[in-house]
Each structure stands twice: as structure tokens, then as C-alpha cells.
């Protein structure tokens, strides 16, 4: 049932003719991120007072600010009705990717978004949802006739473009986070070796390692993680909007 693939622990399940393999670290980290999000949501929900006349607390101000930010920047050009429907999905996507990227700052923890299966799953979900909302708002006939635009012989181009978009959507997040993780490991290993080879500063290797590690984690974990989460959610909303209107 449990197998080792390289350094990873894989859980193999036999479901009829299918063999399902799960990367245990990714599953556990993903559940941890979900747990953090649920606890955060419960904690923030307690800030909403029962009567609307009560004075605004700090948490409530933060909550309304966050809502306004999500509405403005993630769901900019949608019609109000569609924006109301998509708001929970896009915001959850953003928060999930953001916290998955940020959790790599914790030592020994690994972001779930370092795994291609997670990012491709999210991108595929966005792809299916964009078709769903397109059929819902425009009707199936108009939507699928859109593939024959502007000329009928461009149909293969349109289909390839569709898949390429989803593929690059998933690969972009994976590449950024995984590349950052590789770079952090390589640079930390290299500085350790270089400093150990120098006679004067060798006793202070720990200080250099901590400084460089903090900088790399702040850059790749916090900054790039936030930007990529924003980009992922923005692109998801743009793809759905392009299809649906």
C-alpha cells in the first residue's frame, strides 16, 4: 500500500481496474492549508456583530476591506449578477493558492502547489467552470458556434488555444513555486559549501545561512507566492469572463 518513490511516500490504492497514487505529503499539507483557512474564516466570522448598529471592530474593518479588495481587483469586469455567483469560488481559489504558497516558509513544510497534480487540478476546474458559465449565460449553441469564429477552418486553432491556455495556467503556478523551491535549496547548499571553504568566516556559517535563508524565503515564499496567487485567481476570472461574455 505504501511505497517510496525517491524521497516521497506514495499511497497506492486499487480501485477496480484503476490504480490511484497519492503523494502523502501533498495531501497532508493541503489538508493543513484547508484547516488554517477554515479556522481563519470561523475566527473572522465571530467579528460580525448581530445588530448592524454596533461600532466597527478591527476585525470587521479588515473583513470589509478584504471583501472590497477581492471585489475590485479579482472580479472587476463581471456583470453584478455573475460577480455575486463567482465571488466565493474565485476568492477561495485565491486564498487557497496564497496560503499554499506561504506555507513553504515553515521549515520542513512543502507547498501543495509544488505538485503539478494540484495546480493542474485547479486549472482544469477553472476550464470546466468556464464552459459551464458560458453555456449558462449564452446557451450551448451560441457558445459552441463561437469555436467557428472568425472562420470555420480555424476550428483546430481555437481548440488547441483552449487547451494551451489551461496547460499554461497550471504550469505557470507550478513552475514558479517549484522553481523557487529548487533555487532556495541549491543556493543554500552552495553558500554552505563556499563559506565552509573560507577559513576566516567559516565559524560564522550559521549566521550567513540564516540570513540568506530568510531572504530567499521572504522573496520566493512570501512575495512571489502572493503575486502568483493573485495572478492565478485573476487569470481564472479573466478566462471565465472571456468565455461567458
Amino acid at each position: 500500500m505504501f511505497e517510496r518513490l525517491g524521497q516521497k511516500l506514495i499511497l497506492k490504492l486499487q480501485l477496480g481496474p484503476l490504480v490511484v497514487s497519492l503523494d502523502l505529503i501533498t495531501v497532508v499539507m493541503s489538508l493543513v492549508v484547508s484547516l488554517i483557512l477554515i479556522l481563519l474564516a470561523l475566527w473572522l466570522r465571530r467579528a460580525i456583530p448581530r445588530d448592524p448598529e454596533a461600532p466597527v471592530s478591527r476585525r470587521l474593518a479588515f473583513l470589509s476591506m478584504a471583501f472590497e479588495f477581492f471585489h475590485e481587483s479579482l472580479l472587476g469586469g463581471f456583470s453584478p449578477e455573475l460577480a455575486k455567483r463567482l465571488f466565493p469560488m474565485i476568492t477561495t481559489l485565491f486564498l487557497y493558492v496564497l496560503f499554499s504558497n506561504w506555507i513553504s516558509v515553515v521549515p520542513k513544510a512543502e507547498s501543495p502547489t509544488q505538485n503539478l497534480n494540484v495546480t493542474m487540478g485547479l486549472a482544469l476546474m477553472v476550464y470546466v467552470l468556464s464552459h459551464y458559465y458560458a453555456i449558462k449565460t449564452k446557451g450551448a449553441r451560441v457558445h459552441f458556434r463561437g469555436y467557428l469564429e472568425p472562420y470555420a477552418f480555424l476550428l483546430p486553432m481555437n481548440i488547441i488555444g483552449d487547451f494551451g491556455r489551461t496547460l499554461s495556467h497550471g504550469f505557470r503556478l507550478f513552475g514558479n513555486i517549484f522553481g523557487g523551491a529548487i533555487l532556495t535549496t541549491i543556493v543554500l547548499g552552495l553558500t554552505g559549501k563556499v563559506i565552509a571553504a573560507m577559513p576566516v568566516v567559516a565559524p560564522f556559517a550559521f549566521v550567513f545561512g540564516t540570513g540568506i535563508g530568510t531572504f530567499l524565503n521572504a522573496w520566493f515564499g512570501v512575495f512571489i507566492g502572493a503575486i502568483q496567487a493573485l495572478v492565478f485567481a485573476l487569470l481564472a476570472s479573466v478566462y471565465i469572463r472571456l468565455m461567458a461574455t
Binding site: 472587476g76 505557470r172 522553481g179
Partner: protein, 82 residues
């Protein structure tokens, strides 16, 4: 010194990964720089449009970045999978 075929392939693998990443990073870097430069231009001219410009700039940069990401994926495949 004799170099066996396997060692030759191994060496070429690293060379290919380095070339792939190095050449593949040029295009996106120039493209993103151009996008940022023009967005800054627009922001300096119309500071009240900053939010919209920033959002559009980030989307454009993320899309023009995807060729760089493809080369990164190819380099990772060359290094760890092949």
C-alpha cells in the same frame, strides 16, 4: 581518458538544461520589462489609473512569462526525469 556513451549523454543533459533555461529566460525578461516600462509611463501620465494599470500589467506579464515557464519545465524534465 575514455568517455563512455552514458557519461556523454549525462554531460549533454546538463548542457542542454543550462542552455534551455538561459536562452528561454531572455525573451520573457525583455517582454516583461517592456510591459512594466509602458505601465510606468501610463501611471506617470495618469496617476488616478494606477490600480487598473497595475492589474493589467500583472496579467500581461504573467502571460508573457509562460514561455519562460515552459523552458523551466523542459529544463526540470531534462535534469530530473530524462
Amino acid at each position: 581518458m575514455n568517455i563512455s556513451g552514458e557519461q556523454f549523454v549525462e554531460a549533454l543533459k546538463y548542457l542542454a538544461a543550462g542552455l534551455c533555461m538561459g536562452l528561454g529566460a531572455i525573451g520573457p525578461a525583455i517582454g516583461e520589462g517592456i510591459a512594466a516600462a509602458h505601465a510606468l509611463d501610463g501611471m506617470a501620465r495618469q496617476p488616478e489609473m494606477e490600480g487598473t494599470l497595475l492589474r493589467t500589467m500583472i496579467i500581461g506579464q504573467a502571460i508573457s512569462e509562460s514561455t519562460g515557464i515552459y523552458s523551466l519545465v523542459v529544463a526540470i524534465i531534462l535534469l530530473f526525469v530524462v
